[in-house]
Symmetry: C2
Subunit: 465 residues, 2 copies
């Protein structure tokens, strides 16, 4: 069982077999290995021993089978936009880069579904769909691969309307630890045929198998989209407006929160004059009449809680201008303190507890002397507070770590989760024991051990073997 670096002899045998089969598609240089040993995560670089670029599911099965024989770790790699150290290779091994698996295998317009290889990114899929009247809505911000999004159960700004990868994935093809290929479902919109292996693979982060193809739901491009930005006096009012909006059944497509620190950052970065108060950015999708009704009903609710509409737009270029602040939020936040790095966080709580959780977190940030802007997918209760930390200042690093630890425990205390959409990776492993009881975490470990007895599938992530 893999619990430390792989033995050199096993590695040599594996690499030599891979060289023979993959030739130029096996990369062993320090540069490529380094690129595959880290991501946007704060986890230090942990390079694999080599990177291989398969073109098909069968090639992935060959690689995994070879690694299984020699007990060499395998780590799936998409484009490396994970925040939580998913693609790092703490025990070495082979990084399986899916960037040559770019086929959109099928688009079934009548069924609103498609099948893609794991290396297709969400923007590539939408580009492919551009004349079909269909689109794939899930938008985590980064132009991630659909394999990576499935593996981490990603979501993003419009999960409130379209769900997460848990909802969008109809089935996966995956290579298990013994090199066998599973196909977890057909194309029926629903099924009760046995264990939900699709949902087990979604969010398993390459620790149970490597996803090589994904069947995805698609949606019709909305006839009309309208956008608006609304300012509030305080966070409680924002959250009350969000709760009432959701309760009223307004099918809002996006409802994004920016706190006043983030609003200020956006003004500076994007040269805007937003009020520097808590803000909501909204988007409504539907028929022209429905979009008007949705936005009018939202405006009424918002007004009840003192919200003021700052701007709204339906024409694409105006909507883009309006949403630019939200889209640039990450870089704007970093711009608040260019010498610092942002620590990514991702808690999610029941929306009834959102105002308390954000309020306590902001107070904690002030008390800790940290600059920590907040953006949130508030329709789902998910928010990202990003303390900006000077990593050369040990005191500040410690204060940031303690702040994040309190944040996660606070969210779990409110009935929430340590990660709404980023995944566990390495960074959140220590919180699974806070979020779940021992039996539940033990159930995860039992599944892991049963499906990967030698612990070669992305070892050191999610659960200890």
């Amino acid at each position: 069982m893999t619990t430390g670096r792989v033995a050199q002899a096993s590695l040599d045998v594996t690499l030599s077999a891979l060289r023979a089969q993959f030739g130029g598609r096996l990369a062993e240089g320090v540069g490529v290995r380094g690129q595959h040993g880290n991501t946007l995560s704060e986890v230090p670089n942990q390079p694999p021993d080599a990177v291989v670029f398969p073109k098909t599911t069968d090639e992935v099965a060959t690689i995994v089978g070879l690694c299984a024989t020699n007990r060499v770790p395998v780590i799936a790699f998409g484009v490396g936009t994970s925040f939580e150290g998913h693609v790092n290779a703490p025990y070495g091994g082979i990084s399986i880069d899916t960037s040559l698996m770019k086929h959109v295998i099928a688009v079934n317009r009548d069924d609103l579904d498609c099948r893609v290889e794991a290396g297709v990114t969400r923007e590539e899929l939408n580009q492919h769909l551009r004349d079909s009247g269909l689109f794939f809505p899930i938008d985590p911000g980064a132009n991630a691969t659909l394999g990576g999004m499935a593996a981490t159960r990603a979501s993003g700004t419009n999960a409130v309307r379209y769900g997460t990868m848990k909802d969008a994935v109809l089935s996966v093809t995956a290579v298990l630890a013994d090199g066998r290929i599973v196909i977890t479902g057909g194309r029926a919109r629903k099924s009760s045929a046995g264990y939900d292996l699709t949902r087990l693979m979604v969010g398993s982060e390459g620790t149970l198998g490597i996803i090589t193809e994904i069947g995805l739901r698609l949606w019709g491009v909305p006839e009309e989209i309208s956008a608006s930005v609304c300012g509030f006096a305080d966070i409680r009012s924002v959250c009350d407006a969000v709760i009432m909006t959701i309760q009223s059944g307004i099918p809002v497509a996006r409802i994004e929160f920016l706190d006043e620190v983030q609003a200020r950052a956006c003004n500076v970065y994007s040269k805007l004059d937003l009020p520097e108060t808590p803000l909501l950015f909204l988007e409504f999708h539907g028929s022209p009449a429905s979009v008007v009704e949705q936005s009018e009903r939202f405006a009424e609710i918002s007004a009840e809680f003192g919200g003021k509409t700052i701007a709204s737009a339906t024409r694409p270029e105006e909507r883009s201008r309006l949403w630019k602040a939200r889209h640039d939020a990450y870089w704007a936040a970093r711009g608040l303190r260019p010498d610092a790095k942002g620590i990514s966080t991702d808690v999610c709580v029941p929306i009834s507890r959102l105002a308390d959780c954000i309020g306590e977190t902001k107070a904690d940030g002030v008390a800790s002397g940290l600059l920590a802007p907040i953006i949130g997918h508030v329709g789902d209760g998910n928010f990202h507070v990003m303390p900006l930390i000077d990593f050369n200042d040990a005191g500040e690093v410690a204060a940031g770590a303690a702040f994040v630890d309190r944040l996660v425990r606070r969210a779990i205390g409110f009935g929430g989760t340590c990660t709404g959409e980023h995944g566990v990776g390495q960074s959140n492993m220590k919180y699974l024991g806070v979020e779940f009881n021992a039996a539940t975490l033990g159930m995860m470990a039992t599944i892991k051990r049963a499906l990967d007895p030698d612990n070669i599938m992305n070892p050191g992530k999610i659960v200890a073997p």
Copy 2:
């Protein structure tokens, strides 16, 4: 490992311990055992050795712990509305009847969620919610328990809008085969924290653990509901209208198909004068304006495919009258041939293949000399054809069985599934090997063996041990 009837000595020890602890809440009479050894299924009665009525999760854990020690099977029982032999006890053992677990533990209005014990039925939950402005939409027809609905991944008429139990369940509390209690999630609307144990338990039919509590999503009661019935010349036109409706993003709440045989049955049974042609029954939920827009847009689409609106209604009593035919469809179908019994079927296919699949199935029914009315949740591609069979006629029984076998293989051939919403139980086990490749079915068996090494959890269902 349980692969046959439990040893008498083990059973005696178990029963005597259960008698001591549960007294009058342990039933050993032939009558009660018989009631718990069968359901609406065609699978013959297979009674458990005793039925126990726990009141709490801890009591369930005690029962399972005791049975685990003595390797006695445990079978969860809700109200017994399964079609597929889920609650039968082929190897004997203890039936755990959840009918004393009736607490609605919490309703969180602001979060649109609740937590219930497994024995609460969906109608009991909606009764509890009646003044809250919230409702639980999933409606499989029968007034099933929410524990049973979760365990079988049930859905029903409005899955097209509100999803299935896979989508509605936020978390479960469950007792595993070793008696330990897992809680698969908190109350956050989304989470990426580890393996999706919630979805693994949903649809596991008591074979991995016994669900004792369920966290459920709720929805706001729609401001307005409108209903309509629409007649078509043929099945192809119905299916094309359904595809266009879904593609257009009309958020139809129910879109139910009745074939002309079923329409005739409904006319006779409910004394109606529906045209005896393929019909669609529809329901639209939303604001008054949105409901009008939805039904107008549907009428336009329907007209494109020759559909004629027969009736529509918004007032509750009129809607009920309109939908009565659909609600009584099962008994109406049985009434076509009172001496016969209906065989339940539940295939689901991609909606692009629905017209072909229904068409071929109807032709097969005619060629086989069978009377087989069809109803369908066509927005999901799920339909129930129910051959009416005289069980005293061996030739007819054989013809019915062969027809069902061809139906299931046809649906799987079209990319579909043997069961859209009823579950595997015993009846569909033989089709899992048709629907999934050996590695995929092997993955299910690996999970089963890992979590239930002695095969005591509802043995003889879903996968062989």
